[in-house]
Every structure is written in structure tokens, then in C-alpha cells.
Symmetry: C2
Subunit: 189 residues, 2 copies
DNA sequence: GTCTATAACGAGATAGAC
DNA sequence: GTCTATCTCGTTATAGAC
């Protein structure tokens, strides 16, 4: 049983990396199998269809992202600091030339099986809600000042960070994303 | 010869739409052929390899985008107006659920043949240069005030708009992009 | 310039032995 | 759980007739 969990996790690790690098339509079971030194049939035992694998990837990614958001909330800091910590989550993603998993899947959205589409939207909505909360907290405490709804601004921040990942990724320069991200956060705060 | 041009253009039209909708790895010659009512072999006559077709798509898209930028420049307006007009170019893209061609290809970047990678980067760099020019013009005329380099801010704007396309696209609501885009431009101006 | 036919390969997926 | 073997289909691409 420990083996099964371990193997499933290793499959997810390899598949996650491949999707973030090449997209859901840009990798195959053969790629993952070769990377792990097992056969494709073995992968199908753990994840019968590619759609199953895709769903599992998004769920796990969302859980990890959610945990990171809770960790940011745990430390009592000002809204600006939280936003910068949030941007750092994105910067970490980029480090080995990856795209955000759900940003990548958003590009491929129209080609995804329905369950994956729903999971991608859920991921973004969760992030928007968290961001809106940070913004409202910042405003009520006087750390932050903005016009319009916190939801709209949350969407703008999320979009901007995903876009910064998208356009920075071709370059080998991690500072490129950082510069853009900090400039965007600075616009808010 | 008129036929050839016409057929090539029709192929490009169909392929462009498919790439913007489903990605370069998400469409096939068979899709285009079915849409135009011709055979796959006929497509290979006009564009021997898929890479050739991809390059042609980016070049044509870049030319059209460049012409749109020139059109914006032609009318003597303030920097803010030009930025809004620029954002509208993106909004138009989204209208039939398309992604920006080069934004889509940026997601798939790692899987693209080298000539296409170079063409994608050239597209973004051209846009950055144009945006930086608008920002500098705005600053020198006193329409606009910003800190840091015009290049960095240009990149932030481009990234933010691409990201807004990416995250708005799953929704059927064109206003969603507009709200986000105007919020982002408002941050600058 | 478009067609038919086909090659050559890789994809997702399944059956059944171990 | 993992393997070998295989199926079926879709993919890019080419040869050669019309």
C-alpha cells in the first residue's frame, strides 16, 4: 500500500512537471513511463484514463496551493506583504521553466475534458476569493486603498501574475518575472 | 495564382482560429482540411510541414497586429487613449473565445520548433517596443507619470493583458476581460 | 493545385500472465 | 502492481495520378 501511494505520487510528480513544461496535450503516458522506468500499462493501473490523471493533478496542485495560502495567512502581516508572498509563489513555479499548472491548462481549456475544466475554474476562483479577502483586510485596516470591488482587483492581480509567468517563461532570466510582478503589485499598493 | 493566394489565406484563416482556440498541439491538418472541404495532401502543398504553417501564422498575425499599432499611432491622441485602444485589440481577439495567437504559443513554447519560438519572441518584443514608445511619449508630454523604466512597465502591461485573456477566456462574458483590462490600465494612468 | 492511397509512427487504452 | 502484447485510432508526411 505504501508502494502504491508512493508510485502514484511519483507518477503525479513526473506528469505535473511535464504538463507545466509542455501542456496537457504536449505529453504522453509514454513520456511519464520512460521517466519513471515503468510501462504505460502500469500507469493505467493507477490512473485509468489521461483525464483521471489530469483531474488528480489539478486537485493535488490546488491542495498544495491552498496550503501555501494558509501559511501566508498564518503569519500576521500587512496586505502588501501578503501580496508579495503570493507573487513569490508564482516566482517559485517559474524556477525550472515551468508554467503555473492551471495557467497552462487555461490555455488548453477548450480541449480539456469537462471534469478538468471545472477543476481549473475552481482553482482560479479559490485564488480570487483568497486575494479579495487580503484586499478587504488591507483596506479595513488602512494598509491598502483601492477603488472598485475587491473581486475585480483580485481578478486583475491573478491575471497579471499568470500573464507575467506566461511571457517571462521563454527567457532564462528569473529576475524578469520578479521585476514585472513587483511592478504590478506596486501598482496596487 | 489568385487561387493559390486565396487558398493559402483560407488555410491560414482556419488554422489561425484553431490554434487560438485549441493550441498548436491541439489541432491537426485533418481539422483544417475538413473545415475547408479539401484533403490533407492539399494543405501539404501550400505548407509542407506543420512548422511551416505555424511560422506563416505568426508572421501574418504579427503583420496585422503591427498594422493595428500603426493605426493607433496615426490618430494623434494621448497615451492613455492609446493604451486603451491597445487593450481593445486584445478584447477583439477574445470575442469568439480565442486566445491571443502568441499568448497561446507562449504556453506551448517548449514544444514548438525553433523557428516558431523565435517568431513568438519577436512578436512580444515588437509589442514591448511600441508600448514603451507610447509610455515615453506620454511622459514627455506630461500625460503620464510613472517610475522605473518604460521597458519594464511596457512588459508589465503586455503581461497583464495576456494574462487577462488567459483567465477570462473560459467565461462567456466579454465584460469580464474589459473590467480587468481597464482596471490594469487605470493602475498605470 | 488537388486528388487517392499509403507509409511510418505515436497516441490512449485493454487483456491477461506473472 | 507490474509486465508483455496488442488493438485501434489519429497524426504528420510523401508518392504519384489527374
Amino acid at each position: 500500500m505504501a508502494d502504491q501511494i508512493d508510485t502514484s505520487a511519483r507518477i503525479l510528480d513526473a506528469a505535473e512537471r511535464l504538463v507545466q513544461l509542455r501542456g496537457f496535450n504536449g505529453f504522453s503516458y509514454a513520456d511519464v513511463a520512460a521517466e519513471l522506468g515503468v510501462t504505460k500499462a502500469s500507469l493505467h493501473y493507477h490512473f485509468p484514463s489521461k483525464s483521471d490523471l489530469g483531474e488528480a493533478l489539478i486537485v493535488r496542485y490546488g491542495e498544495r496551493f491552498g496550503a501555501a495560502l494558509e501559511a501566508i495567512d498564518a503569519a500576521p502581516s500587512e496586505a502588501q506583504e501578503k501580496l508579495l508572498a503570493y507573487a513569490d509563489l508564482y516566482a517559485n513555479v517559474l524556477e525550472d521553466h515551468r508554467m503555473c499548472l492551471c495557467g497552462m491548462l487555461a490555455a488548453e481549456y477548450k480541449t480539456l475534458p469537462e471534469p478538468m475544466q471545472r477543476a481549473v475554474l475552481a482553482f482560479f476562483e479559490r485564488n480570487e476569493i483568497w486575494l479579495a479577502g487580503v484586499l478587504e483586510q488591507g483596506e479595513s485596516r488602512g494598509d491598502l486603498h483601492f477603488t472598485g470591488s475587491s473581486q475585480d482587483l483580485a481578478r486583475a492581480i491573478l491575471s497579471a501574475l499568470e500573464g507575467a509567468l506566461l511571457t517571462s517563461r521563454p527567457y532564462d532570466d528569473p529576475a524578469r518575472f520578479q521585476t514585472t510582478a513587483r511592478r504590478l503589485i506596486a501598482m496596487v499598493a
